[in-house]
């Protein structure tokens, strides 16, 4: 089933074209890997898909208006003055917390769960932010450079997780400079 259909998407900023006439579809259980050089507009395209940014031209059509999307962008959306546990309590309701805490343990953050998040390393903060995606069960996951800052083991874990979610009919759209290990469609943005 088709979830998203993008027709002739263009985006310009200050008269400078970032990308022009991009068209693609995303179906249920399908992965879309967006690749391109730095500054080519990968993150902007993700924001356009999410409806945060409006395209200069073109249209994105969502087949289901109430599509549940989990998103992780460049900004981690975690609070540095709270502990990892408190951050997860803010993100998840009572029913989702058990799974979130489970992921906290799986990602090796148990020993720092009560420390201030601001004192954690970049990679640890990134892992914490990833739990927002890992412990939720949306219809679609949108990730902007999810592998940046992660150690080898977590990279593998994330790859396996995404592959498994694709098999469970979840759709995934992501940007990366690292080739994913699972099978998915590729959309290359050229400047």
């Amino acid at each position: 089933m088709q979830l998203i259909s993008a027709q002739n998407i263009s985006y310009s900023i200050n008269e400078k074209k970032l990308f022009h006439n991009l068209s693609f579809n995303v179906n249920t259980g399908e992965g879309l890997y967006i690749k391109g050089s730095n500054g080519s507009g990968k993150s902007t395209l993700l924001r356009i898909i999410l409806g945060i940014t409006l395209p200069s031209k073109g249209k994105i059509h969502f087949c289901n208006e109430d599509l549940a999307i989990s998103y992780l962008g460049h900004k981690n959306a975690i609070k540095s003055y709270l502990s990892p546990i408190q951050n997860l309590e803010l993100i998840f309701n009572q029913s989702g917390r058990a799974l979130a805490f489970e992921w906290l343990h799986k990602l090796g953050l148990k020993n720092v769960q009560d420390e201030l998040t601001g004192n954690l390393s970049f990679g640890q903060q990134k892992k914490l932010a990833l739990i927002r995606v890992l412990a939720s069960s949306p219809k679609m996951i949108v990730l902007d450079e999810p592998f940046v800052g992660l150690d080898y083991a977590t990279n593998n874990l994330l790859n396996n997780f995404l592959e498994e979610k694709l098999r469970e009919d979840m759709s995934i759209i992501f940007t990366s400079h690292i080739q994913p290990t699972f099978e998915c469609k590729t959309l290359e943005i050229e400047r």
Binding site: L50, K79, S80
Partner: protein
């Protein structure tokens, strides 16, 4: 909405600097002022109210400085937009929480200081109510300024919205006179309540639009 109110109150309660700081500054100013003049020469209760009004305005100004900036910087606003598709509810929740955590305590501090500096104790509820209402107006105005310039350092926008606070100060001055002369208080409190309700209903829409342009 309840989720947002719970979230915002939890976040603000953990930021001691954000809610306790403005209250301490207000207390310091209100203590320091009588010490800096020869109080035996003045009727302090006559003009101490003006000092409270100005201090309150400055405290509201400081309190709202980081209202949206942190959520904008760390990406929480984007996440909230994905959930709710606009910012009305989050702005309204933040406003209510800020007024509850900072606005009401500073109105109480201001009222108590006025009483301890010679004003009639019977006027305490009147003073407290007009200070509370003026705080609702001031917090809304300054947070609008904050939202306007969130990506250029929120203080700049708060400064530009400072002139908007002048009508509130004029209204407060009028309210003070009604308390001092003992007549017309109820008409002014009804007027201020009406304005506060309208501002509280409309301003989050305006602030929400300003925030949307910044995350776009």
């Amino acid at each position: 909405m309840l989720r947002l109110i719970r979230t915002e109150s939890f976040k603000l309660s953990r930021k001691l600097k954000s809610w306790l700081g403005p209250q301490l500054i207000l207390v310091l100013v209100l203590i320091a002022f009588p010490l800096s003049i020869d109080i035996s020469q003045y009727d302090l209760d006559k003009f101490y109210f003006s000092i409270i009004v100005i201090s309150l305005m400055m405290t509201a100004f400081i309190s709202t400085e980081g209202m949206f900036e942190e959520d904008f910087e760390d990406g929480s606003l984007e996440q909230e937009f994905l959930l709710e598709q606009d910012f009305y509810k989050i702005v309204l929740s933040k406003m209510l929480i800020y007024v509850f955590f900072i606005g009401i305590p500073i109105a109480l501090i201001g009222s108590l200081f006025l009483i301890t500096n010679g004003a009639d104790f019977d006027d305490l509820p009147k003073v407290f109510s007009i200070l509370c209402l003026s705080n609702i107006l001031l917090f809304n105005l300054f947070s609008f300024g904050n939202a306007l310039s969130i990506n250029k350092g929120a203080m700049l926008g708060v400064l530009t919205s400072l002139p908007l606070a002048l009508p509130v100060i004029i209204l407060l001055g009028r309210a003070v006179r009604t308390i001092q002369y003992g007549e017309g208080f109820f008409s002014i409190i009804i007027l201020m309540s009406g304005i506060s309700l309208i501002v509280l209903a409309i301003m989050p829409i305006v602030i929400s639009a300003a925030l949307k342009t910044h995350i776009d």
